[in-house]
Symmetry: C2
Subunit: 419 residues, 2 copies
């Protein structure tokens, strides 16, 4: 047999996949197109934030010294010089016995060293020439100091960061109308399997519709990649190799589904003999998806996932997503493992670690994981609800409810209590 | 004062926002455009899954009765009639003393009632006329039965579900090339504030750049909405009302930022007197963002968020996101509260519940929340890292590390251990 399989762990498989990867090139996009992209460089604050001393509330800018001894019964009366709204520049200087009416976010007038809020003055709703201050202030009270949140030059967003709504607020604040991001990886998708029909084809005896192409396209887009549909692989080995080589010229990475098992019609297996091919691994210690294979064709990565939808989904989350994150410069790309209490017993033994889909939930501050009972690897119905994979160790008799298991989260939990 | 403020809880505010909402109309999109959209209807399995009895592995389809007594030393020899690949239709019937070579996913031939895997036969890699079966099989062993995963007619995806990669696999399997989804809500965005510069403008004294418009656009898109930039609100009240009414004709919902405090220049406050306006609330028991306001202008919702970036972000996550989810038919739209152990002391007292941004982490199966120390409401630097809001109750002296707090998650945790 030309395709000896050596089993390695999920962690080792991922290590081999990520080992040779370097981030793709940098490109500039407008801030309106930057959402979901990955920063190519550390970005610094281009000014202090706030950029000037300002008032954090609606009130009166005063000299704290003037307010000594003020009480609700014996307010200190100050002459109001002007009103400064947000965005305006104060024209007057606050001197002894005077105040400036000031709005939230407005620049502090020179001479003032504290702000008293409207509610702590007499007749707070009125625009009058005099204001009665009802309590004493400390110097510096109620002033947002220039630079107190962020000093100019501070790194405010790091290379490798996925740009979300919050990051965008930071970039906008510092005037990054153009944003340096990493080019999105182009990911070729090939489905193998003579049993596959297109989504819009009527069912035929012995056949099923291709669900992996649309699923993988979505996963790739979620991870920041651009899916490129590269059709089916021809059954003929020479034609298949030529097709793959052609696809690889136009993409950064190729993902196939199907054709990794030990059957007669496995083109992927035959490819391993090609001199242009360096095999990274061809069996992973996991169920489903054990025969998951990865190789380098010349310098480009080919991930060959199982055709079974559940195994394909698992392989894509465990291997393809971290690869795409790393290609976009995410230095921490990888699988995060957490621990959670198993909410329901899973007692089927398995010679390899079993990766069950599941959902996280919380009770009394403890993390629980609810397995999806997808012991049939291909069970489709719960695919859309998966938030994590919980790992049932190899051997033994599964795990009982209440035992602790390792969990690899892959999506935002819904946090619904399913108990 | 024309704008009396009555404080209500976050939960009551959200209840009022969601109370009158009904999902937007249904529309059909191709499955390639359905990712991230929300299902308008329950969808049923259009066929059994698997659609026919099939082999879950590479092996030989046999009659279990023929294998009685088989051992590795004394294998039962059966004549191989043909090979059936995935997608092919068997031409032969398995009769006593015969077998059919069968590939993973291929249709079971008539007459056979079990499958033995290659590895449990003699010379498993070879294509021979005879196969030696090395162990006895039970009837039904290693057959994936028609309909065993999903029976035709079963609901496989529910109305209100956000379509993810897993959902797409299910829809593709059942031939939903066109998908009934809810129309995306169009959300008008208005920034108020004379201090605001555009992102590409150079900084001027007293001014800051508008970070809320780009942040809110991204949040709205994340929640499935279409952001529609509606410019600035004029300072003049009559002009401002006309501008808002005009915007509302073209959107399903209007979100403003800024101009909800008690300052002089608050157009939103003045609007509350308009006969076309029904005020829903104008103060929420939370810090930051207490003056957050919501009203109905004729039948359409206007959410007026604070201009302060941190308060704007909080208001958008607590109120705008659930509104958008509900408008898209998500019946469970709302805020999920979980409990977690505070990882660091936060000891500043506050007269109202304080919503601190933070991140979730896990230690020994327990859920921890790490606060972002963003006691300055406007603190921008950590906006992009926020995964949840942890709630420091009103009064008291804050919360100590190790105490349990309520947490409202809003994004996928990174699960980094920050301890």
């Amino acid at each position: 047999m030309h395709f000896q399989r050596q089993t390695i762990s999920v962690e080792e498989a991922l290590r081999r996949l990520l080992a040779g990867l370097t981030p793709l090139q940098e490109e500039q996009v407008g801030i309106g197109e930057a959402h979901g992209r990955t920063l190519a460089r550390d970005l610094a604050a281009t000014c202090d934030m706030p950029p000037f001393d300002r008032s954090p509330l609606d009130g009166f800018a005063v000299r704290a010294a003037d307010t000594a001894g003020a009480t609700p019964d014996r307010p200190v009366r100050l002459r109001v010089l002007e009103t400064v709204g947000a965005g305006q520049i104060p024209r007057q200087t606050v001197t002894a016995g005077t105040a400036v009416r000031i709005m939230t976010g407005a620049m502090m007038p020179p001479g003032a060293d504290a702000v008293i809020m409207f509610e702590q003055t007499e007749q707070p709703g009125e625009l009058l020439e005099w204001v009665g201050v009802k309590r004493p202030l400390r110097p510096g009270e109620n002033i947002s100091r220039r630079g107190e949140e962020i000093a100019a030059g501070t790194c405010v967003a790091q290379a490798g960061t996925r740009i979300n709504a919050g990051t965008l607020a930071v970039l906008a604040t510092f005037g990054y109308a153009q944003v340096p991001v990493v080019r999105r990886p182009r990911v070729g998708l090939i489905s193998t399997g003579t049993e596959l029909l297109d989504v819009d084809q009527p069912l035929e005896p012995g056949k099923i519709r291709n669900s992996n192409a649309v699923m993988l396209s979505a996963l790739i887009a979620e991870a920041g990649g651009i899916p490129v549909l590269c059709g089916r692989l021809p059954d003929d080995l020479a034609l298949a190799k030529r097709h793959m080589a052609k696809c690889l010229e136009e993409v950064d990475l190729l993902v196939t589904s199907g054709g990794v098992s030990v059957g007669d019609f496995d083109v992927m297996a035959a490819l391993a003999d090609d001199p242009d091919v360096t095999l990274l691994f061809n069996r992973v210690a996991m169920r489903p998806g054990g025969p998951t294979t990865a190789l380098l064709y010349r310098d480009k990565l080919v991930c060959a996932l199982s055709g079974n939808p559940g195994a394909c989904f698992l392989g894509a989350e465990l291997f393809v997503r971290p690869v795409l994150r790393r290609l976009q410069g995410d230095r921490e790309a990888g699988l995060r493992r957490i621990r959670a209490t198993l909410a329901e017993t899973y007692d089927k033994p398995c010679p390899y670690p079993r990766y069950l889909r599941g959902r996280l939930t919380e009770r009394e501050g403890k993390l629980y994981v609810v397995p999806d009972h997808n012991d049939k690897a291909g069970n489709l119905a719960t695919l859309g609800k998966s938030e994590c994979f919980l790992i049932i160790p190899a051997g033994g008799r599964g795990k009982q409810a209440g035992e602790t298991v390792d969990v690899i989260p892959h999506a935002a939990p819904d946090w619904r209590d399913e108990a």
